[in-house]
C-alpha cells in the first residue's frame, strides 16, 4: 500500500498543474491576427531594421496597424510586396529599384599618411584624424560596410575597396548609414530602356556613377589619388541631358535626368566617372 502515496501525490500534483495550465491557457489566450503570420512569412526575414520597425516581425505589426507602408521595406522583392498588398487588401505603388554604389575608387592607389594599428574598423579608424588615407574623403578599406550588409552583397576586393554585388543588393540603406565617410549612395537601377542615345546602348543600363567624393581642389586631389575628380567640367559639357554638374569641386549626377548614356564616362580624363559594369568586372579580378 505504501507505493500508493507517492503515486497519488505525484499524480494529483500533475493533474492539478495540468488542469491549471489548461485553464490558464484558455483564460490568458491572446487573439493574434491571422494576417500577421502571413505577412511576416512574406518579409525577407533579415531583421535589418531599415524600415524603422523592430525587425521583420515589428514591421509586420506596423503594417497591420497602418503605421508603416509596404514600401518602407526597401528590401522585399516585387512579388512579395504584391502578395502582402493582397493579404492586407491595399493598393501598391510602383517604386524605382535602387542599388548602392561607392563614390570612391581610390583603394590601395591612395597612400597612407600614417601606420594605423587600431581596431580594424572604418568607424574606429575615422576617429583618428579622419583615418589613415592621404585622401580624407576616400574609402578607408576596413570593410565595415561588408560586415553590416545583411545580404552579403558587399565584398572587399583585392584593391581594398568594397564591391557591391548588384544581384544581391536590396538597397536596405545599412551601408549608407554606417560608412563614416558617407561614400555610399542608393541610385536607381535603370531598367531596360527602349530608346538608344549613343547607338551602342545594348538594352542593359551602364549604371554610370561618379567614383569620387573629394571636394578638394583638382590639384590637391590629383596629388593624392590617380582616379579622383579634378573638377575639369568636361563631363558637364559632354552631357546631352544636362544631368551632370560640378558642384563644390566634385561632379554630381542628377539621376532624375541621367539616362546612363555613357558620354561622361568617355570624356572623363581621370577615369573618375565609371559604369557599374566596370565595377562588376573588378570582382572577377580583371579590373
Amino acid at each position: 500500500m505504501e507505493i500508493l502515496i507517492p503515486i497519488l501525490t505525484l499524480g494529483v500534483l500533475g493533474v492539478v498543474f495540468g488542469i491549471g495550465l489548461a485553464v490558464a491557457s484558455k483564460r490568458l489566450s491572446v487573439q493574434v491576427d491571422p494576417r500577421l503570420e502571413k505577412v511576416h512569412g512574406l518579409l525577407p526575414g533579415a531583421n535589418c531594421g531599415a524600415c524603422g520597425g523592430a525587425g521583420c516581425f515589428g514591421f509586420a505589426e506596423s503594417l497591420l496597424s497602418g503605421k508603416l507602408s509596404i514600401d518602407a521595406c526597401r528590401v522585399n522583392s516585387e512579388e512579395a510586396r504584391e502578395e502582402i498588398a493582397r493579404v492586407l487588401g491595399k493598393k501598391l505603388e510602383k517604386k524605382v529599384k535602387k542599388i548602392a554604389v561607392l563614390h570612391c575608387n581610390g583603394g590601395k592607389r591612395v597612400k597612407d599618411r600614417f601606420v594605423y594599428e587600431g581596431i580594424e574598423d572604418c568607424v574606429a579608424a575615422n576617429l583618428i584624424l579622419g583615418g589613415q588615407k592621404e585622401c580624407v574623403y576616400g574609402c578607408l578599406g576596413f570593410g565595415t560596410c561588408a560586415r553590416v550588409c545583411p545580404f552579403g552583397a558587399i565584398k572587399m576586393s583585392g584593391e581594398g575597396l568594397p564591391v557591391v554585388d548588384a544581384s544581391k543588393c536590396r538597397a536596405c540603406n545599412k551601408c549608407v548609414l554606417v560608412c563614416p565617410k558617407k561614400l555610399f549612395e542608393l541610385v536607381p537601377v535603370y531598367p531596360v530602356r527602349d530608346y538608344d542615345v549613343t547607338g551602342r546602348f545594348d538594352g542593359v543600363s551602364n549604371g554610370v556613377y561618379v567614383a569620387c567624393s573629394s571636394h578638394d581642389m583638382g590639384k590637391d586631389t590629383k596629388a593624392v589619388c590617380p582616379v579622383g575628380c579634378i573638377a575639369c567640367r568636361l563631363c558637364e559639357k559632354a552631357c546631352p541631358f544636362d544631368a551632370i554638374h560640378v558642384i563644390d569641386n566634385l561632379a554630381v549626377i542628377d539621376y532624375n535626368k541621367c539616362t546612363s548614356c555613357g558620354e561622361c564616362v568617355k570624356v572623363c580624363p581621370m577615369k573618375t566617372i565609371i559604369t557599374r559594369m566596370h565595377t562588376d568586372k573588378r570582382t572577377d579580378g580583371h579590373g
Binding site: I5, P6, T9, L10, L13, G14, F17, G20, L21, A24, S25, L28, S29, V30, A54, F57, I119, E120, D121, A124
Partner: protein, 202 residues
Amino acid sequence: MNAAQFLTIFISAVFIYNVILSRFLGLCSFIAISKETRPAMAMSLSVMFVTTMASVITWLIYRFLLVPFGLTYLRTISFILVIATFVQFVEMVIRKISPAMYRFFGIYLPLITVNCAVLGVAVLNIDMFFNNGKAMPGSFYYSVFQGVCVGLGYTLAMLLMSGIRERLELCNIPKAVKDFPLAFIIASIMSLSFMGFNGFKF
C-alpha cells in the same frame, strides 16, 4: 536568522560558488546568449526572476508536501514538474499582459524551463537549509535570498562574458577559434580566475 548568514549566502552564491563559473550549471545559455550585452541582460533578469520564484515554490512543495508524506526521494522529479509548470504559466501571463515584455523575455523563458541552474538552486536550498527533513529556523528566507543571489551570480557571469565577447568582435581572430571555440576558452579562463575566490573561507 541574522545578517551575517545573509552576507555569507550572498558572497558564496555570487562569487565563491558562482553558479556558472564554479558550479558549472546553466552552461548552454551562458555560451549561447552571451554574444551581446542586451540579450544577455534580458536572459539574466529572466533567470534571476525564475530562480527566486522557484526557490519559493520548491521550498513550499518540499516543506508541506514531500516531507509530511515522506517522499523526499522524489524531490528532483517533483521540482522539475513545478518549475516547468511555473515557467509555462509565467510565459502565458507575460504574453497576455505585455507584448513588448513578451518579445524581450518570452524567447528565453522556454530555455529557462530546462535550465539546470534553476533546478540546481532548488536542490541546493534543500541540501543547505534542511536538516534530516526538518527545516532550519529561517530557512525559507535563506532559500529565497539564495535564489536571488544565484540569479545575481548568473547575471555577473553573463555580463562579464558578453562584455568580453563584444570586445572580441572587433579583433582579428583566427577563423579556427572564432565564436564558440574562443567562448569556451574564455569561459575556462574566467572559471580559473573565479577559483581564486575559493581562498576566502566564509
